[in-house]
């Protein structure tokens, strides 16, 4: 606390909170514990009520948009888990999204119509693919790991392109929506939105929970100092593989949901640029931070949507945003809220 008094009082004056003056460096969550604890529930409540309120404000179109945002956030959370907590820079995450989506297609083509079976299948098949790909990839480190995960994802991409039965390059339309069961279907036109919201909340809660468990601590230890973890007696390879499989499975689930959301599946969704985009969103939000993935996804997709309404050249403002983020918030948005008054 060796800040000059005038500085402290300026901070107090601008925010109007006496507590801030006493602890100008403390994170947001420490200064306002009650609010920080309730914020997730508040966000969840707003999201839950959104489809009911949207018609009043003429925002019906955005129910679908938020649904997509939630699905992408599920995928991004899984990437944040292995990259942010586990230090595994996987550049092939869209591959697992694709595996999930094509599993849904395969099940529909085979005559199944249950959504739960399809999404569960997407989760399992993507998890199995992650087990195979991870078992090989995790024997490498650094740049080699990036390249090998990229290579596997591109192999999956070309596999999808070559699958004539499922539309090949043109993709595959899912013309009849999957059935979620008698007591869900037809209750409300936006039932699928709430199902996605519940799944997203569960996935998010699970990853947050795991982060504080033995496993979560071990995973971060591996990220920070893998050699020491080996010397402490940790089965590093198996621990990483377990995380990789879990993340792959969740990405597959997101892929399955995305297939239902779009009612369409094409190889484009597993192109490597999609993996890169997912990486960018997670980094923008804050690698290895609890709120990193949803924040990054929300910022990116909302800006994209807004910019698209005003201009065809919506890519370059996003590029500028990225540059700003690199220079002013290299730790991501989630980190920004933690030390607004700190640093300078």
């Amino acid at each position: 606390m060796n800040r000059p008094a005038s500085d402290s009082s300026r901070v107090a004056a601008t925010t109007g909170a006496a507590a801030v003056a006493e602890h100008p460096h403390q994170p947001f969550a420490v200064r306002f514990p009650g609010f920080a604890r309730r914020l997730p529930w508040l966000v969840l409540a707003i999201l839950a009520l959104f489809p009911l309120l949207a018609p009043t404000f003429g925002l019906e179109y955005y129910v679908g948009f938020v649904r997509r945002l939630l699905i992408v956030a599920i995928a991004a959370s899984s990437l944040n888990f292995i990259l942010g907590y586990g230090g595994m820079a996987a550049l092939g995450h869209a591959g697992f999204i694709g595996v999930g989506a094509y599993t849904v297609v395969a099940l529909v083509e085979a005559g199944f119509s249950s959504a739960w079976l399809a999404w569960g299948g997407a989760l399992v098949v993507a998890g199995l693919s992650a087990a195979l790909i991870g078992a090989v990839s995790l024997r490498t480190r650094g740049v080699y790991f990036i390249m090998i995960t990229l290579a596997f994802a591109q192999m999956l991409y070309y596999l999808a392109v070559s699958l004539r039965t499922y539309g090949g390059d043109d993709g595959y339309g899912l013309y009849t929506p999957l059935e979620m069961g008698v007591w869900l279907d037809g209750v409300h036109p936006d039932v699928f939105y709430w199902v996605v919201l519940v799944i997203a909340a569960l996935v998010f809660a699970c990853f947050s929970r795991v982060a504080h468990s033995r496993y979560g601590h071990a995973l971060r230890g591996i990220r920070d100092n893998e050699t020491r973890m080996v010397a402490l007696g940790y089965p590093v390879y198996r621990l990483k593989l377990a995380g990789f499989i879990a993340a792959g499975a969740v990405a597959g689930l997101a892929g399955g949901l995305l297939a239902s959301h779009n009612a369409f599946v094409s190889p484009a969704m597993m192109h490597w640029t999609q993996s890169a985009l997912l990486l960018v969103m997670v980094m923008l939000g804050g690698l290895g931070r609890r709120w990193g993935a949803p924040l990054g996804v929300a910022l990116w997709l909302v800006l994209e949507e807004t910019l698209k309404m005003h201009t065809d050249y919506w890519h370059w403002p996003l590029g500028v945003l990225l540059l700003l983020a690199v220079f002013h918030a290299p730790q991501g948005l989630a980190a920004l809220s933690e030390r607004r008054e700190g640093g300078r």
Binding site: R209, V210, H212, S213, R214, Y215, G216, H217, A218, G221, D224, N225, T227, R228, M229, V230, A231, L232, G233, Y234, P235, V236, L239, A242
Partner: protein
């Protein structure tokens, strides 16, 4: 039978024979020092024994169990723990979290993923006990990376001790330390004698002569001689290696 035996260890880096058919034994309750000039292959030897580097030939046996084919993390569970020459701690984590991570590796599965680790009081107790033994109890909440060098070295040692080793490999535990920290470290290592055998690599000859029961001299990847302090001090070749290297170079 010796507690630990290394037989015919060989390691090549390209054309360089870094470890040249090294035989080494450590007895129960013994502090066995390994000395030698820079580049003699001391750290390579520690890496071969701990398994971080695969050996090209030879075998290692601890307490009658052949560890040669085991992965480094499995060797830890057989009682072979190590420290690092370049302090290797989790710099961004608190001392407490460092110790918890070390303790956790030994007690139960690290695949448990739903229960909060903070709720496991047994882990916390073990971590605190470890902090007490190594004189770190006063700095539990400090991030490891901001601790003074001597304390970081002690933390490095504490992390290895969590494994309840039967053989502890110490790679220059006194490196870069001032005299006060060295004295503390020598005391700490001396106290460990009752619970684990130690293979000590050290440049600080004072420390070596005060601690070691036996000393082996490594030169160009080979064990030149092995014996107690008087033997090594009186050995003509050792003297020429230590006093004459600069003249040759």
């Amino acid at each position: 039978m010796s507690l630990f035996v290394a037989e015919g260890l060989v390691k090549r880096f390209g054309g360089l024979l870094a470890t040249d058919h090294v035989d080494l034994a450590v007895e129960r309750g013994e502090i066995h020092a390994l000395i030698g000039p820079n580049g003699a292959g001391k750290s390579t030897l520690v890496n071969l024994i701990s398994g971080l580097l695969p050996a090209d030939a030879g075998r290692i046996v601890l307490d009658g169990v052949d560890l040669t084919a085991l992965a480094p993390h499995q060797r830890v569970h057989h009682g072979l723990a190590r420290c690092f020459q370049i302090t290797s701690v989790f710099r961004n984590d608190s001392v407490r979290d460092n110790l918890l991570l070390a303790v956790q590796a030994q007690a139960g599965s690290s695949f448990r993923c739903l229960r909060r680790r903070e709720a496991e009081t047994a882990l916390m107790d073990a971590a605190l006990a470890l902090a007490d033994r190594t004189g770190l109890a006063a700095v539990l909440e400090r991030p490891a990376g901001v601790l003074p060098h001597g304390m970081q070295k002690r933390l490095d040692l504490a992390l290895a001790l969590a494994a309840h080793p039967r053989l502890l490999l110490l790679d220059e535990p006194m490196a870069g330390m001032g005299p006060e920290d060295s004295v503390q470290m020598i005391e700490l290592i001396g106290r460990l004698r009752s619970e684990t055998a130690i293979l000590l690599i050290e440049h600080d000859m004072d420390a070596v002569f005060r601690l070691a029961d036996r000393i082996s001299v490594l030169v160009y990847g080979r064990v030149l001689t092995s014996g107690d302090a008087a033997h090594v001090k009186g050995h003509a070749e050792v003297q020429s290696v230590y006093l004459g290297t600069e003249a040759h170079a």
